[in-house]
Amino acid sequence: MNGIDFEAMKKVDVRTVNRSTLKDINDVVVDIALPKEERLRSFIEQIGNPYCYKCGDLVVKVSFAENTSATLEDRLEHYLSTM
């Protein structure tokens, strides 16, 4: 996974990106039996750019909060415990 520029991937503009180069998240399979590192490696290989991909007909870009250290796990835990 060395040599992959994640910063450049994050900066991809959803409006100008070449749609044909994007992979579809529907085709991605994550094997949760694998160790964490392997899971990640395989995910990146399949999705190409984890910040910009296709989801059916949609082109999806994902961005994250800059000024918080809260993780998805934290948020999910909070949600589940208040349900």
């Binding site: 994050k10 991605v28 949760i32």
Partner: protein, 559 residues
Amino acid sequence: MARVSRKNKAQAILEPIEHVYNTAIYIRLSIEDSGTNSSETIETQQYMVEQFVNAQKDMKLYSLYQDNGFTGTNFQRPAFEQMMDDVRDRKIDCIVVKDLSRFGRNYIETGYYLEKIFPFLNVRFVAITDNYDTLKNSSSDDMVASLKNIVNSLVAKDISHKSATVLHQKQQNGEYIGAFAPYGYMKNPDKKNHLMIDPVTAPIVKEIFKWKIEGIGYILIARKLNEMGIPSPSVYNYQNSRYKAKKIPTGKATMWQGQMVKQIINNFTYTGNVTQGKTVESLCNGLPLTKKDKKQYIVVYGTHEAIIDEATFRRLGNTIDEVAKKRKANSEKYPFTENIFKGKVFCDECGQKMIRYKNAKKSAKTRYVFLCNQYAHNLQLSKCSKKCLGEPELINAILLSLRAQVELTFSLEDKLKKLKSTKKYIAKQKKIKTDLVNTEKLITKNLLLCTALFENYTDGTIQLVEYNRLKSDYLKQAEELEEAKNRLLKAQVLDGKILSPQNEWIKAFRGQKDTTVLSREFIELMIDKIIVSGYNDVEIVWKFADELAILTEFVGGAA
């Protein structure tokens, strides 16, 4: 009788002086940039609080939060909400205000913040002129603060009561009390509660009514007006300096919208009769903003010159009502679902919130889509491109993205196990269990008492009247206990289910394409905003940190 234990009385825990508080300054003014009196301007308020904070050794200014033009009678204020978000994110642990009334004028909610939320989040709160500091306070100070909160609240209610009486009287007299005259009219410079024709805009109102009578829709009329280059009501008011605060109209207000046209068509005031009291809100009576029925409007006839004659207005109204009725009947055939993305979906080009539209075509399946309001109203004129984001597609994209992230970073099963073993969860389960046991005991006791009562009656200890009265009491009690038991049993089942793989929400993560599980609360917690930049292009901005980058760096480095 047992004496109340004094052992566990709360004692103020003094923080060590070495702790430096990340301090937030909060300032608020009800009416934007009001206060000609120098002690009341927002600048003096800010200066005073800043001076105070700078002089404190144990405070470090984190940020200033300012609500200019927001009432203290509720807490729906943008800067206040931002501040509370930062409190929850532990960025600040001290709030300083000039006085308690700046924080809030609703004593119930203010008290809730001061006595429950802030102590719980460990936040220090200082009101300078009230000499209130949660760090240094004794219990008598707390009492004074509570009283001040009540007084602050009463001041607001008193003003509400006084002004409401006067304003209501004015409405009854046919005096126009709105802040701005309806489009097409202007306020008489000599008699400000009297409307007179605005020679510039009145012909436009006439034209709008003419178009509507010809059967043109609200949105098309708005588009027409924009194409003709006619300034929107807000822009017109601004150009003619009718706004006291020199606020330049932004967003939707800069162009004609269908809603604005609709308001004109439905405003009976254009027939020369002042029509007011369409909505009512009363702080002193605890009444939130409520829409009144058309029949309850306060109408005073013949108060000013008409722009449209009454007969035509009523005829037009009837046709519109009929069309609306038909449309409503048609639309009710399709189910309405809550907009869980309310306030979250934005158009990339105009930056405004996109509207959620029910696409109920006879041929196709009903579905909700998000449209750019600007484009819908003005097409090319709006400078926005056509966008149409389907809600099911959006939900699917969100679930898939979340699922991938969960699968990559942690195990849901472990999470559930962990949550189930938390003290809070165990305590809750335990409480339900003991409550159940206790209720069972009470039920048995009740039954025994009932039997004993009957024996008392048969052996003549009590009379029939007494027996009947007591019996009905016991029966009622038995019923209540039975209900309580059922409630507890239900809670027990529900609680067990929430944190199990049977939880619907977790099932959705497991790949079952059930899209009804996302809730408004969930979206609010997880998503900052969703930006739609093209017909099918969408950016999801999460409310949590990017773990992918951190993890991949780690993995990349290890490889």
